[in-house]
Amino acid sequence: MLDIQNLQVVYGTGRMRVDAVKNVSFHVEPGAAYGLVGESGSGKSTVLRAICGLAPITSGRVSVDGAAVTTPRSKAFYRTVQMVFQDPYASLHPRHTVDRTLSEPLAIHGEKDAEARILQALKEVGLGPSFRFRYPHQLSGGQRQRIAIARALILRPKVLLLDEPTSALDASVQAEILNLLNDLRRRLGLTYILVSHDLAVVAHLCERLLVMQHGEAVEETTADALRSGAASNTYTQSLIQASQGFTRVAPQTARAPAA
């Protein structure tokens, strides 16, 4: 579905040159969910942005459905690939109603029967028609993220790029959104690329994942390997350990043989 070969993203030149992504390659099958994990500055979001045209592709190849992407991206590309951003407080226009937010992609792509499509999209993300004429400030964080997902889904894309879709949400709301994403993938046969710093979230949603550090791919592994703690790379190990919560140094060494 999606193939990335030797992707490189460079900002600036000379002394100001920043290599945000260095030589990253991966391949995602149709219907799969692929995770990108790393700390801030690891380039994981930049990979996502390079795929959808928000960051320049300095060198390398990005192909969707077998065809290399063009710059600028075509309308057909955005029918196939859509993105959901991290912060639902920032990614929805504060002065547009839900109805207007959802009808914009339809208008751009010249889609008919907007009315039915909007009601359908709201239903898919578990919101009733009563939400249609609300403004973002009249919605909770979780409801806003549902609207952002509805906006991405309304053109019936095949690939959804998810950039930290739950990190701005409370734990209980995060669970709801993760369940929704799993459910939508099954029902609509979507392909996901998920960027997150939370290993547990990535392992929950994705089958395979790429660990990134300083713009480079450190290790490609599977969610199952992550769960069994079978990461070969020390950096991945340190991420796994950090995700288990705080450990005091003494009990940590005491606990090591037991684990």
Partner: protein, 278 residues
């Protein structure tokens, strides 16, 4: 039991707004010794307002009332503004969430630590400078001399947060309130910052109030945890007994987190019982 460091009884924080009165904190009581106390809750649960009210930092038009709000025997409600100002930063300090917004952008880190120290202790500039450098070293800055003369925008988030901890601990306070001190940081960096905080707190025998939304983190870091929901403490437990939590809200919060250990699908979601908020 010895006299508690902090004694809070029936703390209430109200905001009188045009649309009516919002009670953000509704009758919170707890006592704190020289220990690590965690306050956990989701956004809007009143955990941060509790921390701010103790320091008298409730933003206007907020109104704070309590049956008792005493720090080391000093009644914080009746004390003069001047004494409160001496306590704040001197004996009680607060570490905020985001170093980007809480450090002064036009002063170097060193100057800020010196200012914090000289505001509370009689010391010459040279003494304060030594103290600041020692403190930067205590928070594991690799090159204290260089960090001393850097501006906040020149350091990373983790270093900024450590600089803030240095500033807050330079006066050797008895009580430290940390409001989400690591949620703006990466996991591995936040573990580093927590380790430093942990060391300093146990070495100096401080009391610590650790406010966070992260139940897992708090239970692994603190001795005791208060779980807040809609402005009230719904449950208080020993951190190590978190798994035996009784309240359905705490249990729900624990369960709805995806974990690496087991794969539950779909994740159990929280059914909020209106009775919890009563």
């Amino acid at each position: 039991m010895t006299k508690p460091l902090l004694d809070v009884e029936d703390l209430r924080v109200r905001f009188h707004l045009r649309t009516g009165t919002v009670e953000a904190v509704r009758g919170v009581s707890f006592q704190l010794g020289r220990e690590r106390l965690g306050i956990v809750g989701e956004s809007g649960s009143g955990k941060s307002q509790t921390g701010r009210a103790i320091l008298g930092l409730t933003p206007p038009p907020g109104e704070v009332t309590a049956k008792r709000l005493a720090f080391d025997g000093i009644d914080l409600q009746t004390v003069s503004k001047r004494t409160l100002r001496d306590l704040r930063g001197g004996r009680i300090s607060m570490v905020m969430q985001d170093p980007k917004y809480s450090l002064n952008p036009v002063m170097t880190i060193g100057e800020q630590i010196i200012e914090a120290y000289r505001a509370h202790r009689k010391a010459s500039k040279a003494e304060a400078r030594d103290k600041a450098l020692a403190m930067l070293e205590a928070v594991k800055m690799r090159d204290p001399g260089r960090v001393f003369s850097l501006y906040p925008h020149e350091v990373s988030g983790g270093m900024g947060q450590r600089a803030m901890i240095a500033m807050m601990l330079v006066t050797d306070p008895d009580l430290l309130i940390a409001d989400e001190p690591t949620s703006a940081l990466d996991v591995t960096v936040s573990m580093e910052v927590l380790r430093i905080l942990d060391e300093l707190v146990s070495e100096r025998g401080m009391g610590l109030i650790f406010i966070s939304h992260d139940l897992k983190l708090v239970s692994s870091f603190c001795d005791r945890v208060l779980v807040m929901y809609a402005g009230r403490v719904v449950e208080e437990l020993e951190a190590k007994n978190l798994r035996e939590a009784k309240h359905p809200y705490t249990q729900g919060l624990m369960r709805c987190l995806p974990t690496l250990a087991d794969d539950v699908r779909p994740l159990p979601t929280l059914n909020r019982d209106p009775a919890w908020a009563l």
